[in-house]
């Protein structure tokens, strides 16, 4: 109880402080490097082809994680991310099958708009009905899973080869795939302007403390709504990414992307209670989660163990986060 403690901690080292403030930016990339090193160690013939399939496998998941991250940072949750990916994916696959490249690009813009509209529907229902977001997005998720099956009964459809090569091709060296470039570009194009603008501040603010944000003059409802719109938009990018990397529409993709996307967000340092976390951590965590079953195949272990390991990892990471917070609280 000293008077007027200056909010000052000049003594703390720059890098340590950076790591503490942006845990996702430091921890997860290190973790991924470790995983890659292990992968190369157990599979010395790791080639550019493996890197490419990793990037292609991880891209839709990373976008699912990005979609979930925006909503969770704002203090909500979106259990319809996977279904929105499925709808946008089959929509693209069904309409692009006989289109040329130019039409396919135009169609993807339309699909992005539809994704944002689905997110907007989530947001409107959550804000106006005052039904908990878990319930709302779980049910809209069911609806959209049904819609996806109505559009495409079973996996199929397609897109022009030139369009698919945007994701499946490589860039400059065979190690850098189009999927990686597209992922980085799309996340950067959507997220950086948001994060730099007032909207980014508002998303973190309402996720951290809705009441304090409201009293600070924030329009909480509008911000929540926009978080779901962004979630829908990222999901649509994921849906298009899924067709680019697999070549077909998969109406049943929903459940995997909802759950693993949420897992990647948590693993990437996004707090489920909102207000904390960034975009880099979840995206990198999606790579880690994609790498696990690959490593198990290299090790000749049933890849279904992947889920067990994935779950264990999440528990450990979340526990470690809690431990750090506890130690810091003790120190004070």
């Amino acid at each position: 109880m000293t008077s007027a403690n200056p909010p000052h901690d000049a003594g703390r080292a720059g890098l340590g402080r950076f790591a503490q403030r942006h845990p996702g930016l430091v921890g997860m990339p290190l973790f991924l490097l470790l995983f890659l090193a292990v992968t190369v160690a157990i599979h010395p013939s790791y080639s550019s082809f493996d890197a490419q399939s990793l990037a292609m496998g991880a891209m839709p998941l990373a976008l699912a994680a990005a979609a979930q991250t925006v909503v969770v940072i704002s203090g909500g949750i979106d259990l319809s991310v996977g279904s929105m990916i499925a709808v946008t994916n089959v929509l693209a696959a069904a309409t692009m099958e006989h289109a040329n490249f130019g039409q396919a690009v135009l169609l993807s813009v339309l699909v992005l708009a539809i994704g944002a509209a689905m997110g907007a529907a989530n947001g409107l229902i959550v804000v106006y009905s005052r039904v908990p977001d878990v319930v709302v997005t779980l049910t809209t998720g069911f609806i959209w899973s049904g819609v996806a099956l109505l559009i495409l009964e079973k996996p199929g459809g397609g897109a022009p080869d030139r369009f698919l090569s945007l994701g499946a091709g490589t860039f400059a060296t065979p190690w850098i795939s189009g999927a990686l470039i597209l992922l980085i570009a799309s996340v950067a194009i959507i997220w950086i302007p948001v994060q730099r603008s007032r909207l980014g501040l508002l998303l973190y603010a309402i996720g951290s403390d809705k009441a304090a944000a409201f009293r600070s003059g924030v329009n909480v409802e509008r911000t929540r709504f926009l978080a779901y719109v962004l979630g829908g938009l990222f999901s649509a990018v994921g849906g298009i990414g899924l067709i680019m990397t697999t070549g077909i529409g998969s109406p049943l993709a929903g459940v995997y992307y909802t759950l693993s996307g949420l897992a990647a967000a948590v693993l990437g340092g996004v707090s489920l209670s909102g207000g904390r976390g960034g975009m880099v951590g979840p995206v990198v965590a999606a790579y880690v989660l994609t790498l696990i079953p690959t490593d198990l195949i290299f090790l000749n272990i049933d890849p279904n163990f992947g889920q067990v390991i994935q779950g264990t990892l999440i528990v450990l990471v979340v526990m470690a986060g809690g431990l750090v917070a506890l130690l810091r609280a003790r120190k004070r």
Partner: protein, 498 residues
């Protein structure tokens, strides 16, 4: 001399929440270059008024004009744009954002905020620090600096000096005076009468949601303010009932003895003894440490210092179950914290007796039913809606919360504001029950926010102010006026006069 401009005029403001009328007819007038105190006892409607002024709630009736223009704010942002900014008792800062981001959130200019922080004694503030890492006092100053930086013509300050050290309070007063000199208006809410008479030009007093008067705060106006807060009810309360005569306890071992208890920001140093057969009342305004006191004794939270003895033994409870095992039970202020609203009366009453997990096997229904029925009968609970507790009236729910402890055995009953929002008939029944329990040898600690009721139920009362006991008196002396004065710190501290 021309009259100063009227910055803010509030006329006949009304607000109800369901059946509860928070504001009936609130009015006030703030002049340019004036610091005005807004005063009133607990539940008089001060905070509702502030929240309507800053756009947190809409009003049901009445009007607000700023410089003669009618305003109706739908959000704090709109109020801010009209030049009206509030600093709340708990800082409205978002924990996971940095100081600079919080300033941007409220569109407060960074340089101005820095300058105000310097003036508040925080030279060279680190605006990149996360709010969650900063001590509470600093947050209050940042919240104030943020409000000042947006340069409002009307500043509302709600209880900012509570639990701040004197030197900081002095700095805040200097800034408030500066604000006045610039021809702005300040509405200052405080329970500390001394501060009000030093700092404020006038005081507007609310009682039961009605503005009952405005008075100049010259020397000696404290009595006038207390009178306004009390109103005509003094006479009525005094005639109410004859208090029970206090019994001498001599050297008997107290049921509960609290020594220099300290917890959190609010509970500073409280000591008292509670004897078997006694109902000890606690009178205090909101936030004087009474919540922490009850939570510590009931094992809901751990203390930061001091001792708790019950029946002669030093106790340290790590969990409410420890306290219950020691015979100390709590009826909390918020019934919802303790009850299972969707379950039946019987289950709610029987719940605490399921305590030890080691007791396996089926529940002895017959024995349980007997005990529960006995407790319900004693309390005259209306059992027409017994299958779901939530369908009972508030008063009956509260009775069930007490009944559950009757069905178990306890030695010390802690009641935290058990009659808030309960009709007068049920109140009487609850107080009669507390008396009956004491007569049977239990010790009862009762906090009530309704001061006139202290005499109805208690033998003795202690008054808390600023986390300390400032006054102890017998129920006979404890009329509302005396209690209210003491609760505002208008008496010399009992022993540790600082």
């Amino acid at each position: 001399m021309s009259a100063p401009e009227i910055l803010l005029a509030v006329n006949g403001l009304a607000k109800r929440f369901g059946a509860v009328v928070a504001l009936r007819d609130a009015s006030l007038e703030l002049r340019a270059g004036e610091v005005q105190a807004l005063m009133g006892a607990n539940g008089a409607g001060k905070s509702t008024l502030v929240k309507i002024l800053t756009g947190v709630f809409g009003a049901d009736g009445g009007e607000i004009t700023i410089r003669g223009r009618a305003c109706r704010f739908r959000s704090p942002a709109e109020a801010r744009d009209a030049g009206l900014v509030s600093v709340y008792q708990d800082p409205a800062l978002v924990p996971d954002l940095t100081v600079a981001q919080n300033l941007r959130l409220a569109r407060a200019p960074l340089d101005a905020a820095r300058q105000w922080l310097t003036e508040l004694g925080i030279a060279d503030p680190d605006v990149g620090a996360f709010v969650r890492d900063l001590p509470f006092q600093t947050l209050r100053l940042i919240d104030l600096a943020r409000a000042l930086a947006s340069d409002p013509s009307i500043l509302l300050i709600d209880e900012i000096t509570a639990s701040l050290p004197a030197d900081l309070s002095a700095r805040i007063f200097a800034i408030v005076r500066h604000w006045r000199e610039r021809g702005r208006g300040v509405i200052f809410i405080s329970h500390r009468m001394a501060e009000v008479s030093v700092l404020c030009d006038r005081a507007t007093v609310l009682r039961d949601g009605v503005t009952v008067g405005a008075t100049e705060t010259a020397r000696g106006s404290e009595e006038r303010i207390v009178e306004l807060m009390l109103g005509y009810e003094v006479a009525r309360a005094a005639a109410d009932t004859a208090p029970t005569p206090g019994q001498p306890y001599g050297d008997a071992v107290p049921a509960l003895e609290v020594n220099h208890l300290r917890a959190g920001r609010l509970l500073q140093d409280v000591s008292f003894a509670l004897h078997p057969g006694e109902v000890l009342g606690i009178a205090a305004l909101d936030g004087q440490g009474q919540e922490e006191l009850f939570d510590c004794i009931a094992g809901v939270r751990d203390r930061d210092g001091g001792e708790i003895h019950s029946h002669g033994a030093l106790r340290r409870f790590r969990h409410p179950a420890d306290a219950i095992r020691a015979g100390i039970v709590l009826v909390p202020a918020n019934r919802l914290q303790a009850m299972l609203p969707q379950r039946s009366i019987r289950e709610n009453v029987a719940l605490p007796s399921y305590g030890p997990l080691s007791r396996w096997g089926p529940i002895a229904m017959r024995r349980e039913r007997g005990r529960v029925e006995n407790a319900i009968r004693r309390l005259q609970v209306d059992t027409r809606a017994e299958s779901e507790l939530r369908r009972l009236s508030g008063g009956n729910q509260q009775k069930v919360m007490i009944a559950r402890w009757l069905a178990s055995a306890f030695k010390i009953l802690l009641c935290f504001d058990p009659t808030r929002g309960i009709d007068i008939g049920t109140k009487r029944q609850i107080y009669a029950l507390l008396r009956e329990l004491a007569a049977a040898g239990s010790a009862v600690l009762l906090f009530t926010s309704e001061l006139p009721e202290i005499r109805l139920a208690c033998d003795r009362v202690i008054v808390l102010f600023g986390g300390r006991v400032v006054r102890e008196m017998s129920a006979a002396e404890a009329d509302e006026a005396t209690l209210l004065r003491a609760a505002h710190g208008l008496v010399a501290r009992r022993e540790d006069a600082a």
